[in-house]
């Protein structure tokens, strides 16, 4: 953000005399042009010499990051709140679902459901924590939807649980807040925009193919939204916060696009 210079006793009223620059305009332009040429040639040479190292410079990274943030806004604008993702037949459901996490399936630490509870925080009227039994008692809905991973693979999954909008309304969440963020038992964390949280096909899933979700896939509670890439669906959720603060996410903080809508 550039601010207009403030009035100051120390700043001359008429600014710096520009006439010298005007007189030598042609020369200045010429130097600039040569610099650009030299810059372009050096950039090319640097690329050849160092492979991809030029792409790691801070300036380049900062441009890419800004474009990624711009793409967040573009995707939010493209998002159609009432447009349903394609749904599929039970025959197409892949069992078991495909595993994804930031570690291997052997390293899963199963959750003791008797000790587990869901904590609530932020802009929520009723922050009482929830047990698994209380969540199971909520009305359930089922979606057979495609899971798309940022890596490029996909599969059809059959998920059921309480509709997330219904749950947010039940706990008195401020639905005008910007974000819903999640903390997970495996130290994974993530956040989504409120529009996606309120989408009809966003649920707090407790079942896969009508059976309780198994340990590797988020037992006892995970998010499942039809409008985002796989990594935006946190598993083993332990806390939900409704907030106006940007909380990022595990993969997002490592450079993946935050909105990650599909």
């Amino acid at each position: 953000m550039h601010k207009a210079p403030s009035r100051s006793l120390f700043r001359p009223k008429n600014g710096v005399d520009q006439s010298v620059l005007q007189e030598h305009k042609a020369l200045v332009d010429d130097i600039n042009r040569r610099k650009i040429l030299r810059g372009a040639v050096s950039l090319g040479a640097l690329t050849m010499l160092t492979g991809c190292d030029v792409t790691r410079s801070d300036a380049v990274q900062s441009v890419l990051k800004r474009v990624s943030q711009f793409n967040d806004r573009v995707q939010a604008a493209l998002f159609r709140p009432d447009h349903l993702a394609p749904t599929f037949s039970e025959a197409e459901v892949v069992k078991p679902p495909r595993f994804n996490a930031y570690y291997d399936i052997e390293d899963i630490v199963p959750i003791d459901v008797a000790k587990w509870k869901l904590e609530l925080a932020g802009k929520i009227e009723n922050k009482k924590s929830w047990t698994a039994q209380e969540i199971y008692a909520l009305p359930e809905q089922e979606w057979i939807i495609r899971h798309v991973c940022v890596e490029g693979w996909d599969y059809i999954g059959q998920w059921s649980g309480v509709n997330f909008r219904l749950f947010l309304e039940r706990i008195g969440a401020d639905l005008t807040a910007k974000y819903v963020s999640f903390k997970c038992a495996d130290d994974y964390y993530g956040s989504i925009d409120m529009a996606t949280a309120l989408h009809p096909q966003t649920i707090l899933a407790t079942k896969y193919a009508r059976e309780p979700i198994t340990d590797p896939f988020g037992f006892p509670l995970r998010l499942r939204t039809a409008t985002k890439l796989g990594f935006k669906n946190p598993k083993w959720i332990t806390a939900i916060e409704v907030t106006n603060e940007y909380r990022g996410g595990y993969w997002e903080d490592r450079g993946f696009n935050w909105f990650a809508g599909i």
Binding site: G51, C52, T55, R56, V63, L64, K65, V67, S68, N71, L78, F79, R80, H83, A85, P86, R146, V148, C149, V150, E151, G152, W153, D154, A226, T227, W251, R254, G255, F256, N257, G261, I262
Partner: protein, 195 residues
Amino acid sequence: MHWVNALAMILMILSGWAIYNDSVIFGWLHIPHWITIGAGPEGALQWHYFAMWILMINGLCYLVYGFATGRFRRKLLPIYPRDVIATVRDAMRFRLGHDDITHYNAVQKLLYVGVIAVIIVQVISGFAVWKPVQLSELAVLFGSFQGARLVHFIGMALIVGFLVVHVMLAVTVPKTIGAMLTGGPVVDDDSNDKH
């Protein structure tokens, strides 16, 4: 516009290869890491979603310019099969003329129109891969998500194939490179219209 497109396309291809490597379509095909752009898939995706804006905005300007000024109609059309065959025959006998580089032969016209069409399809399949839900009406054209990915991959292969031939031929006829860099000789519209 050609060079902006060339830069954007190369960024798209090299970052796209890194993204492809993260979950390959063909088990036998992994692109060597050193030739790709981006530190890890997250970096490659950032590059891909940066260069796409340059490619699309530049491409849109090019299409508007080409249609509005009649450049496409003048330089790329019409293409007759018999001209294509004649050009191929000349080329086989090493009798292909390069005296007037402002005038494309029938094979050139066919390839240029072809690659423009492939790039347009590439943008469309790219949208289908990026937004299979928000643009589900578009994505359905490709069958499944993997169908759109495959089309996007084949489009890339065709563009890379074109690029290899295009660069090789330009190098074979060195004076075209000067024209590409400088914009080429000024073409007299009147004389051109007689063709």
